[in-house]
């Protein structure tokens, strides 16, 4: 194997030189809507099979689609959040193909005139760098149903609950150059969608899925032939699939082969992609404007209204956090990653030391949650309680060391920090006379060391502090201990 440790991510070392990846993503985001895109049926997840199916979804004869305006609004909102051009006239097309879980025999989508045009987003990378990824378009479309092939030895079962659920397909430009960038891009899109509430971004439930177009080239060359990896439902799989697919392509090219344009699937058990269908087998979708639906038209003022109602988005929020709370840009970018994080943070940090709050949240809370395998929403510590903890530290009630003990207890018992401090008697001792008593004891117990110190062995000062702290069971205020000890040992 080649030594890849010095390679930039997204680069692959071949015999003939370094290969660069070119990646474009199509993200399918399910709109958080109670009902489907063209029917009144419920769009909820996890119902019994075929419960959420209207006559329209089942494509009964003579049934007609009627656009769900809420979904249109979400698409426009998303377009605005992606800094994209909103097309005030767009058209629904039929994408025709036969499949058992596609009742109409066509998917209603948008082909030549999507609701949202070009835009761009800023993506934060792990090394603190930023990069801009272009958005090609966003369009509205219906989801298909689900075929179940494992319910019967010879038959396939069809569940139409998902049929007709509203999706936004967000297509990036081929601006992505590494699997990590792709991951960061998806994270950013997901974060934006959650901020504006257009999609819950839940990848496990399939609310957010991505198709990845991957090709490789030597730096400066034209784009190579691409393969599309379908239906990836986690950021980890996206990163793995792109890496493995790019390596596959490099191996072929290095051996003098050519890449066949095809659709591929990612096998999560092997970590590799395999062919699903070649270009020759590709469907001819026979797109044409859906005559059952009028073009989607809206006024500029309607778009403006939506724009004015947009919540603060991660990029501007990040700047504001740095300014208002004095935290680092790096911490801010972690906090704005998820709307839940930033809401939590702002509640906890309200009226308190912002920097300290950010540290505790990012290092301690995220670490503890990860250790206990809990999601953020499952956190036993509420923003209110974290805020109280910060308050207790800042006003000297407890030391940082004690605070960690209190924090651990909060994770276990969900109790408030003041309750824990009181129960366990952990208040910091700052009273001079109390501490002087402890100091006197330490001096009398260690007369020999005192002499050494007084004869010039300054390093021993730390030893005395440690002894006093130990004696106080960690409750003595280290600042006061320091001050009093210095005076005493003059």
């Amino acid at each position: 194997m080649n030594d890849t440790s010095t390679l930039k991510s997204g680069h692959i070392q071949g015999e003939t030189g370094i290969w660069e990846m070119v990646i474009g993503l199509e993200i399918h985001a399910q709109i958080s809507s109670k009902s489907k895109l063209f029917s009144g049926a419920s769009a909820s997840f996890g119902s019994e099979a075929n419960r959420n199916v209207s006559l329209v979804d089942a494509a009964m004869p003579g049934m007609l689609p009627v656009i769900n305006e809420f979904c249109v609004e979400q698409a426009v909102k998303t377009g605005l959040a992606l800094n994209a051009k909103i097309n005030n006239v767009s058209v629904f097309d039929r994408k025709n193909y036969f499949y058992a879980d596609l009742p109409q025999g066509y998917q209603i989508s948008q082909f030549t005139k999507p609701i949202v045009g070009e835009g761009e987003i800023i993506v934060d990378l792990d090394d603190g760098e930023q990069t801009t990824i272009g958005i090609e378009r966003l369009h509205l479309e219906q989801d298909a149903g689900k075929s179940l092939h494992d319910q019967h030895p010879t038959k396939s079962f069809i569940d139409l609950n998902r049929t007709g659920v509203a999706l936004m397909e967000i297509v990036s430009k081929p601006d992505i150059r590494s699997p990590q960038e792709a991951g960061a891009y998806v994270k950013k899109i997901r974060s934006i969608l959650r901020y504006i509430g257009a999609c819950d971004g839940n990848m496990e439930e399939g609310s957010l899925r991505a198709d990845c177009n991957v090709s490789v080239r030597k730096s400066g060359d034209e784009f190579g032939t691409r393969c599309e990896i379908k239906n990836l439902n986690s950021i980890r799989f996206i990163i793995q699939a792109i890496q493995s697919e790019a390596e596959r392509q490099v191996n072929i090219l290095e051996e003098g082969g050519t890449i066949d344009q095809e659709t591929r699937l990612f096998d999560t058990s092997t970590g590799e992609t395999r062919s699903m269908r070649s270009k020759e087998d590709a469907h001819d979708y026979r797109y044409f404007p859906d005559p059952d639906l009028l073009p989607l038209e809206f006024t500029e003022s309607w778009v403006q209204d939506i724009k004015e109602k947009l919540p603060e988005l991660p990029d501007s929020l990040k700047k504001r956090l740095v300014k208002d709370y004095g935290i680092t840009s790096y911490d801010a970018s972690i906090l704005v990653e998820e709307k839940d994080y930033v809401d939590f943070y702002q509640q906890a940090a309200n009226g308190r030391d912002g920097k300290l709050t950010a540290n505790w949240m990012i290092t301690e809370l995220f670490g503890a949650l990860k250790k206990d395998n809990l999601s953020f929403s499952e956190s036993p510590i509420t923003s209110e309680n974290l805020g109280k903890l910060i308050f207790l530290i800042s006003n000297g009630t407890i030391s940082g060391k004690i605070a960690k003990e209190v924090f651990a207890e909060m994770m276990k018992s969900k109790k408030s920090p003041s309750e824990i401090v009181k129960e366990k008697g952990l208040e910091q001792v700052s009273d001079d006379s109390e501490i002087l008593k402890l100091i006197d004891q330490v001096i009398s117990d260690n007369q020999d060391k005192v002499n050494e110190y007084l004869s010039g062995k300054d390093k021993l000062f730390g030893f005395f502090v440690g002894q006093v702290m130990k004696l106080s069971q960690g409750k003595a205020n280290p600042g006061v201990v320091n001050k009093l000890l210095k005076e005493k040992l003059k």
């Binding site: 003579g62 036969f98 058992a100 009742p103 026979r286 044409f288 005559p291 639906l293």
Partner: protein, 487 residues
Amino acid sequence: MSELLDLNLVEASKALKNKKISSLELTKAYLKSISNTSSLGAYLEIVEDKAIRMAKESDKKLFDGTARPLEGIPIGIKDMFCTKDIKTTASSKILENFIPTYESTVTQNLWNDGAVILGKLSCDEFAMGSSNETAAKGNVINPWLKNKKMSPGGSSGGSAAAVAARSALAATGTDTGGSIRQPAAFCGITGLKPTYGRCSRWGIVAFSSSLDQAGPLTRTVSDAALMLNSMAGYDQKDSTSANLKMPDLMDYLDKGIKGKKIGIPKEYTQDGISEDIGKFYEKSIDWLRDEGAEIIPVSLPHTKYALPAYYIIAPAEASSNLARYDGVRYGARQEASSLDEMYELTRGNGFGDEVKRRIMIGTYVLSSGYYDAYYLKAQKVRRLIKEDFENVYKKVDFILTPSTPTTSFELGKKQDPLTMYLNDIFTVPASLAGLPGISLPVGLDKSGLPIGIQLIANSFDEPGLISTARVLEMSAGFNFIADGAAK
């Protein structure tokens, strides 16, 4: 009995409201005539019990003075309309046992206004045809020249035959390229295709969504007005339905046409028209002039491209609309060992030749590499045809044309599909432009077959169309009854 059948819709309605007759006796008379004329094959399904039940309910309302506009009127419904709990097949084998759980908006409007259903009427399979010969259960026979077995036209052949044979007081039809007007002309009755968007398409089996439009087939223009009053209306379940209130058409029956301008398109008077039709076309022009209309020669220059454009657009939409008949959820399924094979067998056995032909044409014209040359070009032609009409309507109020180039033809005389398509040459342009058109009988040809004349109005001018048609109807004084009609 005969007296009951002699009443047209408006007369019957008046007699019902004056309690001269009851809906039950009227309905029974029609049920009887359905059985007397059963050899015509107009009905696919007769719902006698339901008809009797509805008639009795109507009689109650007539008795207690709460009668609605169509109270107690027995009508037939083209099998393209989904009717709740009544088999709806679109005359296709693929839907042979399909019973909808829902009622189309147009038929629901009719029941809401008190109409009584007699049964479902045959038509060309999925409304694709001009002779009613593509129906899975076999053709319908035109009640005119009964012994010669003439075509009732199509696709609403069952509807036209039933009204002409007096086995329904009125019927619903659907018109995509002439499917109401051409059979009305062949059967000597009135057929009205409203403006696209006037009647909801919800619950009507779709053939070509941008063209399909429901309308009435009736004995007279006033009957058509009364029927359309009930059928039309905005429906939020159909995104293409027009949110416009239609005035009560009965108010427009006797408005006259003094000072109105009637356009005579030169493109409609050229070759291919039978001599008798040409003669009655001339007569119709004279009648309208005599009633005070101004006759103005006009040109619709793109007319000759209408038929080719239609036979690209309609099959293209049909190929997609009919994809849902796949055997997966409803309808006849042919079991097979793979999904693709199941599709092939189900659709191969379920659709007739004409439907298959149009699905293939439609699939072809939408295919990549052919889309621009066919579908896109046809859409451009459609726009030009629309503009032709828009230009003409700056100068005239209505356009007068023959409904068909020939009168009815004998059934079973194998015609090639292209000759058959020519039947719609005068009706297709208005369909492509979405305009309202009406065909009414003005006379008989030498062999004794009815001749239909078409009036085309501007968008949403059904009121004007009714006024003008009524004048022509009075002038023509067509009062013949088909020899095959129930007596």
